[in-house]
């Protein structure tokens, strides 16, 4: 492992790779800071830009966008009481009251430190856990892969939205979209309607840009586009202690940050749960464990540390199922999967075997991104606060043009642009009817995997489904799938 790490260090630590990682962080923080623009949107918009790049700088840049985006969300949460990303919703609770008390700089710094610390620890866990997990996953045959993906899909569909049924329907549509194009075993076209472009199937990039950038812009257009540009400044207090995190405050928050790391890493490793829940869960636990729970919600620095450590610790952990099993745990990792695919790489256990140099370079890249987040975040706090002033009436037209060009660039295809726009409208309607988008995208990504595994399994058993029950690992995942459906159905029915 040490040898592979040294190779990873030599591959990653070049001027070009570090430049792209830092560029990604900067873009991520800027986009994350703007309300209505999410880390997901940032990564989706930047994937096409990685088209002509080599794998390591491309993935490092996107990882930077992801990490920067998660931290960037806290800037607007603290300064204008509006979370830049959903993951920063819990940061608002204490961050904004701190800013009102003249402690904006302290809150922003604590958000940064908690974010970077939790993220780094989560990445270390990923680095330690991923290689042995991938080695185990290498032994999986088609029946195990089928049952595992089915289990992951069930979890994603059941936890992604408010309604179990809607999550499952969205996932079913995701698999249905994945069947468009060439049949993976028989090689015959499905749902091509006689068009050559349809035989190639639906592209991941048009789908994710449509679902997460176009539909987001259309939703944001429903809100009033404000004419006024607010005067947003990070007001510094006359008391120097209000502008920095003191040693005693950091000591007090350490336990919360460690707890946030544990919660975020655990939840991040489970597909579908995401950073928002981790932030709120850690916030609630920090409040319960605090000697002064009454201070929470009124500008308690531990509240900011809890929210930010919880949501940032998810970043590293979501890569565990992606890198070891090829299963994206959330939307951003599905976007990263798309970026890997553009580079001709398929995340999963085989990637550890065939391209371990790239994997270890990415591990080093994660650490570079964390360090970069700390440096860029510290230096640029005042500048990033200014981007909140960019009016949405200028921003949205530019995003729409970028969506068009970015989608076209991947395959030089206007058909893809049309598909992207169609998915934008589908995403918009789904949001209006409260259908979650994550199960649709992740099921679309996992669709070919589950179908191929199912059909290969049946070929192995001469068409008998018993093979999925005869193999212990496969059977275990099927039992877990059934149990999770039963558990979530029971919980929802009881809740209602």
């Amino acid at each position: 492992m040490l040898e592979q790490f040294l190779v990873g260090i030599s591959l990653m630590l070049t001027f070009k790779n570090i430049f792209f990682a830092l560029l990604g962080i900067t873009v991520g923080i800027i986009i994350g800071a703007i309300p209505g623009m999410t880390a997901t949107m940032a990564t989706a918009l930047l994937v096409p830009l990685t088209f002509g790049m080599q794998p390591i700088p491309a993935i490092a840049m996107l990882l930077g966008v992801y990490k920067g985006g998660i931290y960037g969300g806290s800037i607007s949460a603290i300064l204008i009481n509006t979370p830049g990303t959903p993951a920063a919703s819990a940061t608002v609770l204490d961050g904004y009251p701190m800013a009102q008390k003249g402690q904006a700089m302290k809150a922003l710094k604590m958000a940064l430190y908690a974010s970077v610390m939790a993220d780094s620890m989560s990445d270390i866990i990923l680095i330690l856990v991923a290689p042995p997990l991938a080695a185990i996953a290498l032994r999986f045959g088609p029946p195990e892969v089928f049952s595992l993906v089915l289990f992951a899909l069930t979890i994603i569909a059941t936890v992604s939205g408010a309604s179990l049924l809607k999550g499952l329907i969205a996932a079913a549509f995701g698999i249905l979209f994945s069947t468009i194009g060439m049949d993976p075993i028989a090689g015959t076209p499905r749902f091509s309607f006689g068009y050559v472009d349809m035989i190639k199937g639906v592209g991941l990039i048009p789908m994710l840009i449509g679902l997460f950038a176009i539909s987001e812009v259309l939703i944001q257009l429903e809100k009033k586009i404000s004419d006024e540009i607010k005067d947003i400044r990070v007001k510094e207090s006359a008391n120097p202690d209000d502008n920095r995190v003191t040693a005693s405050e950091m000591k007090r928050c350490l336990r919360t940050i460690f707890r946030g790391t544990g919660i975020g890493t655990f939840l991040g490793a489970i597909p579908g749960i995401g950073s928002t829940l981790a932030a709120f869960l850690n916030y609630g636990m920090a409040q319960k464990a605090s000697k002064h729970p009454e201070r929470f919600g009124k500008g308690e620095i531990e509240g900011v540390a809890a929210a930010e450590s919880g949501n940032s610790a998810v970043c590293g952990a979501t890569l565990i199922p992606l890198l070891t099993l090829g299963i994206p745990g959330d939307i951003v990792t599905a976007v990263l999967l798309g970026a890997f695919m553009i580079q001709g790489l398929a995340p999963g256990p085989l990637l550890f075997k065939e391209h371990s140099d790239i994997i270890y370079a990415l591990f080093v890249g994660l650490m570079v991104c964390n360090l970069g987040n700390l440096v860029i975040g510290s230096i640029g706090i005042r500048f990033f606060a200014k981007v909140l002033k960019v009016p949405s009436r200028i921003l949205y037209p530019l995003i729409l043009i970028l969506c068009f060009v970015g989608t076209f660039a991947v395959n030089n295809s206007l058909f893809d642009v049309g598909a992207m726009f169609s998915f934008g409208l589908i995403g918009y309607i789904m949001r209006k009817f409260d259908y979650p988008l994550a199960p649709l995208l992740i099921a679309f990504v996992l669709g070919p995997m589950i179908e191929t595994a199912l059909r290969q399994g049946l070929i192995m058993s001469d068409g008998s489904f018993i093979i999925f029950l005869q193999r212990p690992i496969s059977l275990s995942f099927l039992i877990l799938t059934a149990l999770s459906i039963f558990f979530f159905t029971y919980k929802r029915l009881k809740g209602k």
């Binding site: 069947t179 028989a186 257009l221 586009i225 037209p397 642009v417 409260d434 059909r455």
Partner: protein
């Protein structure tokens, strides 16, 4: 129980009916006509689409009848007071502009169509400061053109009359 006027169908039920009709159309028309091929390893290419059509029909029926099942359980009539879904004119106009963008690009080319569409969008969103709008209309598409066409060597759509 939410207060409000009685509604025959709620939003979920309406979407459930749409999905149910779609699943029937999928199973009886789209799959037989658009998915062909012989069985390999005991499974036809239509197996997964067929299965998904059945699952969608089943889930949509559950969505349609969920309020009735719940009202039977609680022995209360459940009325849902919800805002009707409205699609603002701004969303429709922007969608139409984007749609037009896709169609005019093969004729005008990437640059001309982007200048035009960006100008329309910026103006429609209420940007009236010419010293911001005019440079933006030209600089942003040109910047993207430079990045994609010159740095990444990706050909952007060429029109019949311009790049």
């Amino acid at each position: 129980m939410a207060e409000g006027k009685k509604k025959i169908l709620n939003r979920d039920q309406k979407s459930g009916i749409f999905i149910f009709i779609f699943s029937i159309f999928l199973y009886f028309y789209l799959i037989p006509n658009e998915v062909k091929g012989k069985a390999t390893g005991g499974m036809k290419p239509s197996f997964i689409p067929d299965l998904l059509a059945i699952i969608l029909a089943f889930l949509s029926l559950l969505l349609i009848f969920e309020p009735f099942i719940r009202s039977l359980k609680t022995k209360e009539k459940i009325f849902i007071n919800e805002q009707p879904i409205k699609i603002p004119s701004r969303t429709i106009v922007v969608s139409a502009i984007f749609f037009a963008y896709i169609f005019i690009t093969p004729f005008l080319g990437y640059l001309l169509s982007s200048f035009l569409i960006l100008a329309i969008l910026l103006f429609y969103f209420g940007n009236r400061k010419w010293y911001i709008v005019i440079p933006l209309i030209f600089v942003f598409p040109l910047m993207l053109y430079w990045f994609f066409a010159k740095v990444m060597l990706v050909l952007l759509p060429q029109g019949r009359i311009f790049y």
